[in-house]
Structures are given as C-alpha cells and as structure tokens.
C-alpha cells in the first residue's frame, strides 16, 4: 500500500500535473456551494467543503448524453440508420469525491452492468474513471452513511483515499488503479507512522461524530406487499410537490429516458436523466397510468431504494446516506423517517 503526504500548495500543483494523463474533475466553489468541475483554465480547486451540492454522478452518467446520430435526408445512402455518436472514454479522475458518493457508483453499477445486459456507456466510462475519495472529517447533520454500509472514511468503491490533516493532505492507495495514480504524482513524501495515526484518529472521530442513525436491518425480511399496502404512504407523501429534487440530487437515482432530437436533416438519439416523481414516467400510450397518484410515485421511490433494490440484488439498500434529499427537499420529507417507518412496520 502506497501512502503519500502533500503540502496543500503542492497538492494543487500535483493536480495540475495529472491533467497530462486525465481529465481531472475537482470540487470548485460556486457561490455558496461546491460542485465538481473539469480542472481547466483558471479554475481553482477548493477542498474546503462538507459535500458538493450535486454528487459527481453526472461525470460517469451524464444528465444528457448523445447515444446515436443519424441522417434524415433520404437521398443519403445511410439515411434513417442509427450510428454511434462520438463519445469520450479517455481516462478521467474525480479528485475529492466523498466516500458516500463513490459507494453510490458501486450500488448503481449492479443495474448498469449485470450478467444479462451491459450498458456500454456506463461500463466504458466507469472503466476509464479513477475515484480519489476524500474522507469526511466533519459529516453533515443530515448524513447517515454509517447506517447504510458506508462511512465518512469508507473505502468502498474508492481507488484511493485522501485525508485532510489540516496543514497537509495524506493520500492512500486502495486499488491497483489508485496505486497507479499515486505513482504518477511527482511531488509528495512517504507518510510516517505518526501521520497515518493522525488520519486514523480523524476517521474514528468522524464516525463517532455521526449524529443520525437509521435502522434498515429488518427491510429484507419484510413482506413486499405488506409494505406496499402500509397505511403510512398517504401521510408520507402528503406534502410532496413532485418537484423531483430528491431524484435529481440523489447519487443512486439512475432512471433515464431516451428521446430523439432533430436538427434539420440530422438527428440524435439522446438519453436524459428521468425521475419516478413525474406522472409521465409511467403513462401508457393508452392513457392508463399505473402510478397516476402522487402517493404511488412517492411510495415507488422509497420502496425502490429501501425494499425492491434490497430484494433484487441482495446488496443492501440503494441509499448511501449522503443526506442531500433530506437537506434540500422543499417540504422536508426525510428518508430517515421513512426508513424507520418501513423498517419498523
């Protein structure tokens, strides 16, 4: 296992140097919050944040992506025949991803890359992505990662882990991909035992500092139809305004739509993020809609994350406890409370 320590100035230099081998995505301060952006021009990375407003899921699974292109001019020989649109699968690095968001890629991966079907876009982009995690010294009050199989310093899904020691950053390889990344870094010194001990203390302190605990241990045993017919869904969904913010922010929400867009005699087939919160999501051509009512859609979202996923993949819940939906829901619907309701029903 390789460990390296960098002064904070050197770290920025190292990131600049990695641009030779990777598209480097870093947290950047934008107004009151941080988001991941491509390191280019005079953009300044900023590692002074709790978590980014949006998870970096769009770096692997873009919000909108051209899948195919085609000509509609019938005089062309290949008119109306779909061809792969050019795509960029060159190596990319997400530097500073929180462990919860990295774990989300692992949970979502079982959907996109399963024994029967492999989503080629996901698989290739995931293969070209290196995830450099960033331990959470001070988790948010809405976080509950330790309740759902992750943690503020969890290495699940990470290639390397970075720890903020105050004056310096400690980096540690997790996978072979991560070790290769560390070897590419010009600067930095080997970490001594004292430095490693300090990082471990920070991790322990962060875990102890987690304020939310959510019970999910009984979900697998519950009868799916009993939960589906539970009396609390109307109440849970009462205040929901179907804005879809929860699905947009969620690092494990993966649903998408496929649409054609035409520009003159050229067209693209595009895939876009979609959300189970919208009635159109399930509207049949006939007009029938199995999830016509708001409570049905809210139930679907929670049942998917906390029951259907659990049953289908035996891989825990499809939630990493990042707390974004709790923090940003305009009507304060709290997945922690819903999980407790379901787990205790």
């Amino acid at each position: 296992m390789i460990t390296k320590v960098f002064s904070k100035e050197n770290w920025i230099t190292v990131l600049e140097g990695l641009k030779e081998d990777f598209k480097v995505f870093v947290p950047v301060k934008e107004g009151d919050f941080h988001n991941f952006r491509l390191l280019e021009n005079d953009r300044k990375p900023s590692f002074d944040f709790q978590n980014t407003r949006l998870s970096p899921k769009s770096i692997v699974f873009p919000q909108s992506e051209r899948m195919f292109e085609y000509a509609l001019d019938s005089s062309q020989e290949d008119a109306h025949i779909l061809k792969e649109a050019p795509k960029d699968f060159s190596p990319q690095l997400i530097a500073g991803i929180r462990p919860c968001d990295a774990f989300a890629f692992q949970l979502v991966g079982v959907n996109f890359d399963n024994p029967q079907y492999q989503d080629s876009l996901w698989v290739q982009r995931m293969a070209s992505t290196t995830l450099l995690g960033f331990g959470c010294n001070a988790p948010c009050t809405s976080c509950f990662c330790t309740s759902v199989g992750s943690g503020p310093f969890s290495e699940k899904g990470l290639d390397a882990l970075m720890v903020d020691l105050g004056d310096r950053f400690l980096l540690k390889g997790v996978t072979a991909k991560g070790e290769a990344l560390l070897e590419k870094m010009g600067l930095g010194e080997d970490a001594d035992d004292g430095t490693v001990k300090r990082a471990l203390d920070l991790a322990e302190g962060a875990e102890k500092g987690m304020s939310s605990n959510v019970s999910t241990d009984q979900l697998k045993e519950k009868d799916v139809n009993a939960l589906f017919n539970a009396p609390f869904w109307e109440k849970v969904s009462f205040s929901c305004i179907n804005c879809g913010t929860c699905t947009y922010l969620c690092p494990t929400c993966w649903c998408f739509d496929i649409q054609d867009e035409v520009f003159g005699k050229q067209g693209d087939r595009i895939r876009n993020w979609d959300a189970c919160m919208f009635p159109l999501f399930t509207l049949h051509g006939s007009g029938h809609n199995p999830r016509d009512e708001k409570f049905q859609r809210v139930r679907q979202r929670f049942m998917h994350k906390l029951k259907y996923y659990v049953d289908k993949y035996d891989n825990g819940v499809a939630c990493v406890g990042c707390g974004r939906c709790v923090q940003f829901c305009p009507v304060n619907i709290d997945i922690r409370e819903v999980a407790e309701l379901m787990n205790g029903y």
Binding site: L82, F228, D257
Partner: protein, 280 residues
C-alpha cells in the same frame, strides 16, 4: 463494446391494414443485413423495440413466429407519437429494430399439455405468434389439444382474419372466435364477451395451461372463470404491458415491485403476479 441500445436496420417490406378503423396495421420487416436476422433469434412471447429515426422507440410484441423465416412482423396500434408516424410510413422505408427483448411463454412447461389461448382485441399479437409456432409440423406433436378463444369489439376489429378462417378449417386446433356485438346477419361465429365465451367453450383445466393476453378488463373477468374451471395460478400465464424505454431492465420505469416487466417479464404466471405489488 456492443451498445445494447443500437437497433438493427430494417426495411418495411409490407404494411397490412388489419382493422376497419385502420388503427391497427401490421408491419412486415426485413433485415438489411442478413446476419442480423440470425442475431435476432426469438421465442414466441418476446417483444422488440421498433425504432424510427427522429421519433423514438416503442415496445411491441412480436407477431410472427420463429418458424416463419426471412422477416419479422409487428401489429401496431396507432396511439402516440411514434406509432402515428409509423402508420404514415410506407413500404420500402428504413427503420430500426432492437431485440428480441423480455422472456417468453413457458414452452418447456407447456410441452405435452393442452393449451388454452385467450386473447382480446389487439393484444392477440404474441398469441398469433404462439399459434403459428405450435401449428408448425415440427412442433404440433409436442402439444395436446389447442383451444383458442379470441374476441374483438366487432367483426371488423379482428386481427389476422385470413388466418383465423384457415385455422377454423383445421381439426388440430379449436377456434372460438367471438365479437362483443354485431349486426352482421352472416356472422357465423360467437357473440359475447371473452370471459363468457371462455366459460361456455372451455370445459376442463385438466393437464392444461392458459395463455391470456388482452385489455385489463378482459383479464380481470377471465381470471375467475379460469379459476372456477380449475386452473391453478401457476398455469394461468399472462403477458403485461408497461411504458418502457430501454427494454433491458436498466432505465428503471417499468417495474412492478422488484421485477422489470421488460426484462423479468413481460410474461408472468398469475402465481407470480400474486406475489408482486398490484401496480400495473
């Protein structure tokens, strides 16, 4: 790496207007690359995504049988953007086909059994595929009696009329064609709803499997008839519809509980459905 969303290019070889309201048309598609036809190896009960460049894709049951070579057919109801455009396309036009998708009727379990087919309206497509498949000389010995109850609103709304007439004449399949109502004095088949005709014509569930495909109301009223006849839920097989996009269990919209209708279905036994949330 193979992109699972890329359709095979196909040419519309023939378009047949099936019903008097002209809302149902059958499209006979031929693969532009002969090798794609081999790759598109399907089993009755499966569906595919029909792709129209510039409009999008629609999931439609395969109406042809794998015993019919050189083409694949789909009967499409005109309801939305893609289907309306498709209805305006003409023979010779190029489009796309992605599949085959989903599971199929339980052919292994049906071997050596009596087969009861119950269909209503335009949901008869994969049942047509199944009948043609079973009637093929290579396959017919594998099944005992084959009975078919097929109904539509009126005589002009029945699909595949020529074939229905042919099947009527055969002695290795018993047809019970029916219409909800008709004022045609020459109508020589049944009049009545599918559940009623099923109750009158199907007399036994012994050693039999029932394949049921139709509008939700037909399914709802046929189910108790079959149960009364003695069909256990394991031997009542249904094919479901759902709004779909990817067709391969990834895009997340067609789930019923933890099952994706596109990948884990569209064929489910009633026994399976009883274990799933009633959200379809």
């Amino acid at each position: 790496m193979k992109n699972p969303y890329l359709p095979y290019p196909v040419r519309i070889d023939k378009i047949i207007t099936e019903t008097e309201d002209k809302n149902l048309r059958t499209f006979k598609l031929v693969f532009l690359n002969p090798r794609d036809e081999e790759r598109f190896s399907y089993i009755p009960g499966q569906f595919a995504e029909l792709s129209v460049a510039g409009k999008g894709e629609i999931p439609i049951g395969i109406a042809s049988s794998p015993t019919e070579k050189g083409f694949v057919t789909f009967t499409v109801n005109k309801v939305g953007l893609v289907t309306t455009h498709l209805h305006n396309m003409k023979e010779g036009d190029i489009m796309g086909l992605r599949g085959p998708l989903g599971n199929w009727y339980p052919w292994d379990d049906m071997q050596g059994k009596n087969v009861v087919i119950i269909g209503g309206g335009f949901a008869f497509t994969t049942l047509r595929s199944s009948i043609v498949y079973m009637l093929h000389p290579d396959n017919r010995p594998k099944f005992k009696d084959i009975q078919v109850v097929y109904g539509a609103r009126g005589p002009g709304m029945l699909l595949y009329k020529e074939e229905l007439t042919e099947w009527e004449k055969r002695d290795d399949i018993q047809m019970h064609i029916t219409v909800d109502a008709t004022d045609d004095p020459d109508w020589k088949y049944n009049v009545g709803f599918v559940p009623t005709i099923t109750e009158q014509k199907i007399t036994s569930a012994d050693d039999a499997m029932a394949l049921v495909c139709g509008p939700p109301i037909m399914i709802r009223f046929t189910q108790p008839v079959l149960e009364k006849l003695g069909f256990p839920p394991e031997r009542i097989i249904l094919s479901l519809e759902m709004r779909m996009k990817c067709g391969i269990g990834i895009c997340g919209r067609c789930n019923i509980g933890d099952q994706y209708v596109c990948k884990d279905g569209p064929v489910f036994s009633l026994a399976q459905l009883k274990q799933m949330p009633p959200e379809y």
